[in-house]
Amino acid sequence: MFKHAFVYNLKTILRERETVFWSLVYSILMATIFYFAFGNMGGGSKFYTINLGVVESPLLMEGTQFHSVLSSISDVDGKSSENDLFRVMTGNEEEAEEWLKNGRISGYLIYDDGIQLVVSWSGFNQTIIKTFLDEYKQTIEIVKEISKDNPTAMFKTITDVMNRRDFLIQKEVSPGGGDFVATLFYALLAMSCLIASTASVFEITKLQANLSTLAARINCSPVKKFKLFLYNISASLFFQIIVVLIVLAYIMLVLGIDFGDRTGLIILTCMIGTITGVFFGTFTGVLGKSEGMKTAITVGGTLLSSFLAGLMGTGIKYFVQENIPIVHYISPANLISDAFYSLYYYDSLNRFWLNIAVLCIISLVFFTITCLVLRRKTYASV
């Protein structure tokens, strides 16, 4: 019976042109468009030097402690090297403001009761400047505290600080290097996983006697509905996982987008993401009788989740992360995208497994609700 139902359900899915289009063709089209639109923005795994403004002030200029630190990692005199993190532009506050408005600098530093950072929006470059500044302030505070309380430990402290700086400069960011554009493709692949939901809504329509005559006929057969659900959904999952893997192969092998070297875990992420998508669809499928409403929820949910995961620009992802952290932790597209991100940028797999665990929990919740509703055997109306 499993083979019979599986094969026929797979045939129906493969012959549904809309499903094939939205699951496969649409994702490949989007990937191609992204590639031509943004493909040359990332520049591989290298970081570009960030343009940083510094407002002229006796407390920030040459001879100060801060200037020494900044000079060690920046191009301050027009002699740039590939290791420079910042290209410093010095001027008065009006000039700095003007440069910021024109986009010539990502932010500027000004001395106003301590060193302050001024940015016009929160993005990748701004995060790097802020991290640098926070680290500088923290280190200065530590040195001050120790020199006051335990001057004998000063030498060790300074050695530790030096070592930390060395660590920051020399350590590889991730096994695969880094790629800014990849974030867009993570979100796209997350969308490909979740778009499986639209097709799995119809798996429920085929089984709930109050939703279609076809389902009424199937319900009159001597096969348990739950068994048939498992058989059908297996075919749906099989199809959708193959589709997502094709999209992944296209993005990695044809478009040459670097997802890092952890291929096994990347495939695992695609599979778990697709399972979440399929069960999101079955969950929506059992919600009510209106086909329009269910389609709107699945398509809208998938697109919104993908949008918040950075499908239309990475700024959204960071905005959500900072301002609506709960969405960051429960939005399936974000979890999938973040799993790819974690595999790419971090040596440690802790964050990756956390994302996978949350995705599994979400899938389990969707699956359980679907099963509970499917248990219903008679209806008030058909």
Binding site: Y8, T12, R217, C220, P222, T378, A380, V382
Partner: protein
Amino acid sequence: MISVKNLVKRYGDLVALDHLNLEIKQGEIFGLLGPNGSGKTTAINCILALLKFSKGSIEVMGKQMTPDAYDIKQDIGIVTQDVAVFEELTVYENIDYFCGLYITDKAERASLVEEAIVFTGLEDYRKFYPKKLSGGLKRRLNIACGIAHKPKLIFLDEPTVAVDPQSRNKILEGIQELNKRGSTILYTSHYMEEVEMICTRIAIMDKGKVIASGTKNELKSMISLGEKITVEAFGLNGEGTDYLKALKGVLSVDYADNLLVVRSQRGRNNLVHVLDYLKSNNITFNKIYSEMPTLNDVFLEITGKELRD
């Protein structure tokens, strides 16, 4: 085969089935006749355990019918009112899929599918997708999907709706053939001619109730109408209709648009008297029909409205 007792089904304030009672015996073609909305499909859905009902009991093949009664379901075939097939599967694949829900042996299934294809006359359309089939052929496919596993009990819910006369005759002949092969059939329709033609017993439904049941002759004998004479006559006046009304055993006389309709009581034959009157009064007449009462007349007399209202 089926026993329905005091079945009540409500949709909010609307009573869809009002203490419905049905007894269907093995080997019958049992017709459920009634206008649209009379509760035929609701009754079938309750019997099939698809619908919850408020009150009553249903037994099929001597056992309580429940959604988990898989042993009963194994012997049931259903042909739904709307065509219920997969648009993405071919004719052969559709029949094979539904047959496969009942028959797991592949070789046995292949032979049954082939038999169903021949039975419904779909030999030339095996590889066609449903969207390429005409309405009549789709209906035949719908039937093939419901009967391929050779069920003992078949539910046919308005299987001839929107079907061309050729396909309709083919379907009706097929139903009689299925019955001859041993299947008990519950057939619903609002086409009285079909029900009269193929059903061995009939229940007439209205507003969720069985208002009459029996063989077609038993049903017709329940009403006072015996003969209906229709004559195309020109220039009949009020005096003439009054004369005809006064004839012995005449129940009613209607005259409109040059059509004279005279209804007489059972056992009375007034055709000769009507024609004598028209001739003797030099009233020109052309077509003459004399009909025995139909199930529509039964419905009309019991409910006061036409079956097709």
